[in-house]
Symmetry: C2
Subunit: 338 residues, 2 copies
């Protein structure tokens, strides 16, 4: 079974025209039932499969969605991807994935590979470098090519497209309030994401809550994980800290470890909350209380928005969905006092 069977082959074998075969296989009422059956049987016995590429060229629709994520090693994105894949499959779309690895260059290249007609629309979360340097020309370009696009989680204000974000500000606000009620008001915010939109929003939410509590915020902007060990360690020695809110999951775990190394116990001396509800939080010891972002919902919502846009079911104006967060209580925080 070397070359694939085509309509032409089938037509020749039955001595009918190509268009008859095409119509028959597509159940066109134009074709009489007997010939329709005959053609279908032959097609089946030849394992005929319509060539998707040719169909796409004709229909100008690929039924595939391009997805660009900054990293495949961050569980949040995988959960979103999971939601994207499930929803896309349900609606008859495939997904093609590119990784930007947080760089502008790869993000731009990915956009370029999508612009050439291989996808019907794009879902993406902006790379860290792009957000920091605020380079937006490549997005502008894909919009110019009238390729529908939806951004999730890490978005750019300057780009006018559908967006799905997390209510990070409110999430941090709620978490801070939660900590103040269960642990005390000496709450530190550990920000490993100050360069990107979500990090800034989380910081704002924290500060808002602290202002509300009439406390001065204590923010630690530490870019890499090694800096946390040093930076956080020395703060813990100097001031009384009763709770830590971390901008991501890994730094929350690290914070727990650093606190313990400094002789504090979790959650009795210090409570810890992290962002993102990943497996790692569940399996940590103690398990980590987190602000969950409903990653899967974000994925499916993004797909919904995009497909509506592709199929022209959306309003002309860009839609910005904001998904609420939820605190998932585990053992790194004290229980709420009744």
């Amino acid at each position: 079974m070397a070359a694939k069977t085509t309509l032409k082959d089938l037509a020749k074998m039955l001595d009918v025209s190509i268009s008859t075969v095409s119509k028959a296989l597509n159940d066109s009422p134009e074709i009489s039932l007997p010939t329709r059956i005959k053609i279908k049987e032959l097609a089946a016995s030849c394992n005929y499969v319509p060539n998707n590429i040719a169909q796409s060229l004709k229909s100008k629709s690929t039924k595939t969605i391009g997805v660009i994520i900054p990293s495949i090693l961050i569980e949040f994105f995988n959960k979103v991807l999971y939601g994207i894949e499930a929803e896309a499959t349900k609606r008859g779309y495939k997904i093609i994935i590119c990784l930007s690895n947080e760089t502008f260059k790869k993000e731009q290249e990915s956009i370029d590979t999508f612009i050439n007609g291989s996808v019907d629309g794009i879902i993406l979360s902006v790379a860290e470098e792009t957000q920091k340097t605020n380079q937006i020309s490549h997005f502008q370009k894909s919009l110019n090519y009238s390729l529908p696009m939806v951004m999730f989680d890490r978005v750019l204000d300057d780009i006018d497209c559908d967006k799905v974000t997390v209510d990070d500000l409110e999430g941090a606000y709620k978490a801070t309030k939660f900590l103040s009620k269960t642990a005390g008001q000496n709450i530190l915010f550990l920000n490993t994401l100050s360069g990107i939109s979500v990090g800034r929003l989380r910081e704002q939410g924290y500060k808002k809550a602290m202002a509300n509590l009439k406390r001065t915020p204590i923010v630690l902007n530490l870019e890499n994980y090694k800096a946390i060990e040093k930076g956080l360690g020395s703060v813990l020695k100097e001031q009384k800290i009763e709770a830590i809110l971390a901008a991501d999951e890994y730094s929350a775990l690290l914070a727990m470890n650093v606190a313990r190394l400094n002789g504090f116990s979790i959650p009795d001396d210090i409570s810890v909350i992290g962002f993102t509800n990943g497996l790692i939080s569940e399996y940590a010891m103690p398990s980590l209380t987190v602000v969950s972002q409903h990653a899967e919902n974000i994925g499916s919502l993004a797909v919904d928005r995009l497909i509506n846009r592709i199929e022209k079911k959306s309003t002309p104006d860009a839609i910005h969905d904001v998904v609420k967060t939820k605190i998932i209580e585990r053992n790194s925080t004290k229980k709420i006092k009744k």
Copy 2:
């Protein structure tokens, strides 16, 4: 900028033929330099991008690889994916990902979406259900369509295609030996993957090492994580266990937790080694000693094999690469005695 610019458009604007434009843009020496430049300038100013679909139809090559993985929430697969993406990108290929979610049905559907010409080859790891029920017709089918295919990690003996697997047997053997030297010879094997090939191989390796040590193996086949808490807990109460080898990372962490709940300390009373080197092992407390499978290498190797096959650079016979494992020592095991 509504409709995309095509060769036809450019040709009309300059009043030349379509093929001249095509050749000029492809830097054909057939076209004189001045016209070549003129055409290129126009193309650039019109933001011309060649239509990939049309090119694919013509060339019968899509420069994309289809990838089917059982789950995107298992870090091992993400690391492999990372390797796949990097290598594929390097070699000018895109990847399109389908998730089988461990089910035969979704795996079969994914194969079907790939068969219709949208990819040049397939890389996959077999779904758990498929391995358990040993259904192989869909793989046979894609092979019949002469779609190159390479299987990684979870493979099927009955399918004749290139394969990249981990030397799981040797990895478990090495780990068991390591434990016997550092912790003692009362070693338990916790198998959560007995239904799939890798789980069986790891068990064999463990048993081989135990036989070598002249000890009776203690194997705990526990399908789900909840069963571990009960099952492992009662064994720890009844017998003297000095070390635990777990078939995956999560059960290793759980084993640590269960051991501690039963009053044992890690690694002083019980040493623990898990399979797979994920972030979760690094961030655990204590950090977990693991058998690393070089996931990224597996990914890039699989891509290499596949592209060679696609581009007909391979020998006719199927190639089976076996990647060696490496023990990464952390704090859940005692140091080797000098």
